[in-house]
């Protein structure tokens, strides 16, 4: 039954996602999440859902043990340290990030992206950090800048390690933003004609050349990643990479399309524990 709904979504992508609305009229984020999980677990009954947070590593014991070894002595420690310095250095007015973020910035990352009713749009953790900077007379960082925002969040997100992802989608406007993100996820794009779902749903767990493709559930909690050990990549930077790979023009990082995609995509990981920052191939 549920399988059928996802297949309908996937087929719908071919028709420019027209079937989307019809197939999912009564879907809630939690029922979407459950359907994704049913889809994956019926294909891969032996892989534990809680291991999905390891992405492709969950499907390959050798890579997972390589990951475990690397995480014992992470080659990216110095970058996390640099992020900590940024975090602890006061603004010119003497205030710190911890003075203006909720709960001093601890155990909050799993609440983002969040729908901000006052602003009428989705805000990411990056947006909140920038609001904090601007409120204290500093310039906003460019959200896609790995040297500033990336490095800062590589440390800042460690303060939420172990937090359970808890994305709330409440009210019609929040739901509309969620649906917009879902549409982006299921719509084919680019010269190569892929949707995110073509790979991360339909072909999750299969090999594309030498890469095993990860499931979308569990995707959003372990960011940023250090690819190859030292190349810092934030979640939206990764989205941008996947857009470019399919030869599509990537929407700008921090824009509404990306933020709504992150909103939908993060809700798929609700209930799963967070960790920053991690190694990826």
């Amino acid at each position: 039954m549920k399988q059928k709904i996802i297949m309908k979504l996937l087929t719908g992508m071919a028709g420019l996602g027209i079937a989307l609305g019809a197939a999912t009229a009564h879907a809630t984020p939690e029922s979407d999440r459950q359907e994704f999980i049913k889809y994956y677990t019926s294909k891969y009954p032996n892989i534990k859902v809680e291991d999905y947070v390891f992405g492709a590593l969950a499907f390959d014991a050798d890579s997972k043990s390589q990951y475990d070894a690397i995480m014992e002595f992470p080659p990216f420690d110095s970058q996390i340290e640099a992020g900590r310095k940024m975090w602890e250095t006061p603004f010119k007015n003497g205030k710190k990030y911890s003075d203006c973020l909720p709960s001093g910035g601890k155990q909050i990352a799993g609440n983002y992206p969040m729908f901000d009713e006052a602003k009428g749009k989705v805000v990411t953790l990056h947006d909140v950090i920038n609001d904090c900077r601007v409120a204290n007379g500093e310039e906003a960082f460019k959200v896609g800048d790995m040297k500033t925002m990336g490095t800062l969040t590589a440390y800042m997100r460690t303060l939420s390690d172990g937090m359970i992802m808890n994305i709330k989608v409440e009210g019609p406007k929040a739901m509309a933003a969620y649906e917009d993100g879902k549409k982006t996820f299921f719509t084919r794009k680019g010269q190569l004609n892929f949707a995110c779902a073509s790979c991360h749903v339909q072909n999750a767990g299969t090999r594309l050349r030498s890469e095993i493709i990860s499931p979308a559930v569990g995707h959003a909690g372990h960011w940023p990643v250090f690819r190859g050990g030292d190349n810092l990549v934030t979640l939206q930077q990764r989205y941008q990479g996947c857009f470019t790979q399919v030869r599509a023009v990537s929407p700008p990082q921090g824009g509404i399309t990306m933020n709504n995609l992150e909103y939908f995509h993060s809700a798929l990981s609700n209930g799963m524990p967070m960790k920053a920052s991690v190694f990826r191939k």
Binding site: A14, L192, R209
Partner: protein, 129 residues
């Protein structure tokens, strides 16, 4: 739909014109690397990750140097038996979504990822597998 017929017709013609080289190519494949060729072969295009990149998704069990391929699509083997009609094979490479709307194979012809001539060559190569 009309487009498809058009393609099928077009490629039936090229199939006839190319059939000589196809056979030669299919049988000569193992030695092909030895000959210093300028022009790209169907195999070159299929293997090139900026062009067909077929190996990212398909194994080719009968081609020894098709190594560490993906498993995203079915292995390409016994193609002439499975596609008695070469035009149909070409049409499938041209736009797999016309046959299977939820196909995740790249529509190489429809989206201009490969040129018509390149698709002809790849079809010939794949038909020999």
């Amino acid at each position: 739909m009309r487009k498809l017929h058009h393609i099928a017709a077009a490629c039936a013609i090229s199939a006839i014109m190319l059939s000589g080289t196809v056979l030669a190519q299919a049988t000569a494949t193992p030695a092909a690397a030895a000959a210093p060729q300028k022009e790209e072969t169907g195999k070159d295009i299929a293997f090139n990750n900026r062009k067909g990149n077929c190996l990212a998704c398909h194994g080719m069990p009968t081609v020894p140097d098709a190594q560490s391929t993906g498993l995203y699509g079915p292995p390409l083997i016994a193609m002439s038996a499975r596609f008695p009609n070469k035009a149909q094979l070409r049409a499938r490479i041209w736009d797999a979504t016309a046959f299977n709307p939820s196909s995740t194979m790249i529509p190489f012809g429809k989206h201009g990822v490969l040129t018509e001539a390149e698709i002809d060559k790849v079809t010939d190569f794949v038909y020999g597998l």
